[in-house]
Symmetry: C2
């Protein structure tokens, strides 16, 4: 059979290979799921968790630290505020959450790359936050040059809808200034949507002002999705809340996301962790709606578990998948877009461990009904490292999510009864009319992985996935072209950044 | 937090580490799924596929090649037989299938290791069929010594329920004699259940006779599950059918399994492939029931797709997952145990590609409701290679399937409300009572993967997953002990093999 297949393709093989190796600068449309969600928990379990989350909010409460304005808002809304602890009467948080939109549009400077977040959509964004990068040469502190390289790779990745935020920490730029350079990279090196800064309320304001320039005024349009982590358990610090307040006021979207290593920041059980996640997200989303009713927000769940032997966070585990599925169900019942999943792994190298763990996480994320998947590519070593090779390895796998989400077509044509009749017992389908018509697009095909005959593969150096990925990184960067941007806008952005940087001292790195 | 965790465990850490590194010879109980299946296709789509499969059986038919007895059986059952083509009136195949059991027990010489196949059970078995093996030294033809090594590794793998069959082809033994040696290995080196030979009807008879010795007579108990591949499309050859007839007559179980590379042996579409799979399995199962009503059988689906560029089969693809899900739904509607899934990959090395592809396949297999998962560990390079390192890598991942299948407990204890109350906002759970009680078993923990601090990992040689797996292979083999077997039975088996081998000439290898 393989021989037959090889003979067959000799006709148009070269043309097809050329077509496949043409630089891909197109990005696939947002994933619209045409498949069911995997509902791991039954209704009874979900109702218990929801009731428990209300109990936590009413009895234990949440802390809004160093934030008198937030405490005042809560008091006005009917919460019981004692010191910095806010206790919410049963039902209050859920009621406040109901003004948040079920779905919203994030604009991009290329209108075709605007994304709808919520409903049946899945938007894929790259890794966020690592202080280190890794390439073939090993692990080192990330620089702004690395950051720009990741933005370029993201721009060139056809299955990635979103340029993300802090794809790595540019540690060669002072902490108080690096958000300018990161935003400039996202605004000029790609035309995909991106995220804003959250490390200081003032930096959130800078992010909004730069978007005003880029988009010629925002007029309440949502141009950024930003990551607001909850300081689990049950604590909302003033820096993150300050950024949230800035963004919500400007109708910019926030992911309200517990950051949980189960066993440390949440109970050691899945049901207990889900209870806490729900309580925290409801409190955070409710607060966003106190700041501005109708502000776009996302139900976030970043949850992993702790290795009780080493204290390290672990990824791709069954407990993480269970929480990803369960939190998705809770988010849908709450009527909010859902952020979870990602190419998570604990491995120090882009090896088999990294791939097992990442694939486990990506598969769970797809079937859990995730709407916004941060860390969908490039994540390594528990998020300490952004890895160039793994970025393209994961980004290639994201094509599988796209294809899976389409579901199975059962049309007259795809039923292929005529093909089965034509071929009959003992024949083969390689040359039949149905195959001829559909072979080009019938099957998803990796743009990275090895499908070559053993001998060819051996002659070419018996390369493993890392070596293939390393070559692909080089090829993508060689083919990269920056998308056109109005020079006047670029100049205005530059002037803004130069002026703002000049107003502030260099902070310690 | 990590620091705290490290400090905390210093007390009992050594004891716990010792407990974890004790040789595991226990095998986990069969997986009993306490989670829903993922039903990818809706009822309407399934009904269309079922109707089309009936159309295929009625209009196109199936070929039973060089098997006059089979044609006679079909004629007697009411089929339209023309030459070797058998056309089944609509409904006949499904009606005949109804006498097959929904679930059956496969005995093992260790009664605790008997497995129930069907219902909500998932039984995991290793790779089957590769002519090559690979270890750190590269790829080479498999030998009987390799075969025995794999059986030992399988015996030592706690998440593997089944010893499998042709874990690799012992190419140093003549083709007509190697089944004796393979069966001896499964019967003496492990006490887990195993598979019989299918490469000749006489070898199936030998397999039954050896089981009669091992089990002191079978008395209609099912001691083997054997793999009967359909020669897709729609063709049943006399060798495989001869083995099926032998096994069914002796009440031994058969997996009736289309062997399909989509685009070559089936239409290039998922719906068309599912139609053909269902038609083929129904014809094969129906035939088994003509041989012996009530004979145990399994609905098999080995389906991959072709890479239209190289002609190679591909694995871990979205289309393979879609077929795995869909075929599971069809099997349940037919009321038969389901075999599919496995740690499939196309990669030549146990690298990231192998792991992505394998994890995609394993996850789909779990959620598709597979009852018998062949190739659950060790598969490499499209099934051409059984890989020692990947065997233990995959076998470790199987622990995730066990844990996932348990579902989420929502008991008073797992809800952990008291823990959330105890810790409160801003605390941590590492020392709380609930964590102390449950940390040991709360989270699945890999017995292979790296969770160490970066510095420790670097000091120990910065090993990747292959290197860790290679060390684990050595450790498992060093700790291996053969399970006790009555010497009289062992002698009787040996005498049988010596006698039978002496009766036959050496065949060409």
């Amino acid at each position: 059979m393989a021989e037959t297949a090889r003979r067959r393709r000799s006709g148009g093989g070269a043309a097809r290979r050329a077509a496949r190796t043409t630089t891909q600068v197109e990005t696939a449309a947002t994933i619209l799921r045409n498949i069911p969600d995997f509902d791991l928990l039954n209704d009874e379990a979900l109702e218990i968790i929801e009731a428990n989350a209300e109990t936590v909010l009413a009895e234990v409460g949440v802390a809004f630290v160093e934030n008198p304005a937030a405490l005042a808002r809560w008091r006005d809304a009917g919460a019981d505020v004692q010191g910095e602890t806010v206790r919410l009467p049963r039902g209050l948080a859920r009621k406040l959450c109901s003004s948040a939109p079920k779905s919203f549009t994030q604009i991009a400077r290329n209108p075709d790359r605007a994304v709808e977040i919520g409903g049946r959509n899945l938007v894929l964004a790259p890794v966020y936050g690592p202080p280190f990068v890794r390439d073939g040469g090993g692990r080192r502190y990330a620089t702004m040059a690395d950051f720009e390289t990741f933005v370029k790779l993201g721009h060139m990745s056809p299955w990635l809808h979103h340029s993300g935020g802090t794809v790595c920490e540019p540690t060669d730029i002072p902490v108080n200034k690096r958000h300018f350079d990161m935003l400039m990279a996202h605004m000029t090196l790609t035309d995909k949507p991106f995220m804003g800064s959250v490390t200081e309320p003032s930096r959130a304001r800078d992010s909004v002002e730069m978007c005003e320039i880029l988009f010629g005024g925002l007029k309440d349009r949502t141009a950024m999705v930003s990551l607001i982590n909850i300081n689990s358990p049950l604590t909302f610090d003033s820096i993150m809340m300050g950024a949230l307040e800035t963004y919500a006021t400007a109708n910019q979207a926030c992911i309200i996301s517990p950051f949980i290593v189960g066993g440390a920041m949440a109970p050691v059980s899945v049901a207990g962790t889900l209870t806490q996640v729900l309580a925290e997200v409801m409190a955070g989303v409710a607060y966003s709606q106190l700041v501005r009713p109708g502000a776009p927000v996302i139900f976030g769940a970043f949850v992993t578990s702790i290795d009780m032997n080493s204290g390290a966070p672990t990824f791709g585990t069954p407990e993480a998948a269970q929480i990803t599925y369960g939190a998705g169900q809770l988010a849908r019942r709450l009527g909010l877009p859902y952020r979870s999943g990602g190419a998570f792994c604990g491995s120090k190298l882009p090896d088999a461990q990294a791939a097992y763990e990442s694939a486990n996480s990506l598969n769970a994320g797809l079937l859990a009904g995730v709407n916004f998947m941060l860390h969908a590519c490039g994540w390594l070593e528990g998020g300490l490292v952004a890895d160039f090779e793994k970025f393209v390895m994961d980004a290639d796998q994201l094509g599988i999510l796209h294809k899976m989400a389409q579901g199975v077509a059962v049309t007259d044509e795809s039923q292929a009864l005529d093909a089965i009749r034509e071929v009959g017992p003992g024949g083969h389908y390689l040359g039949c009319a149905h195959t001829q018509t559909h072979y080009e697009n019938a099957f998803w095909r990796s743009g990275l992985l090895d499908y070559k005959p053993f001998e060819t593969w051996a002659e070419e150096g018996a390369r493993d996935t890392r070596a293939l990925a390393s070559a692909k990184v080089e090829a993508m960067l060689a083919a990269y072209e920056a998308p056109a941007l109005d020079p006047a806008i670029r100049d205005e952005l530059r002037d803004y950044v130069v002026r703002r940087k000049s107003e502030m001292p260099d902070a310690h790195i």
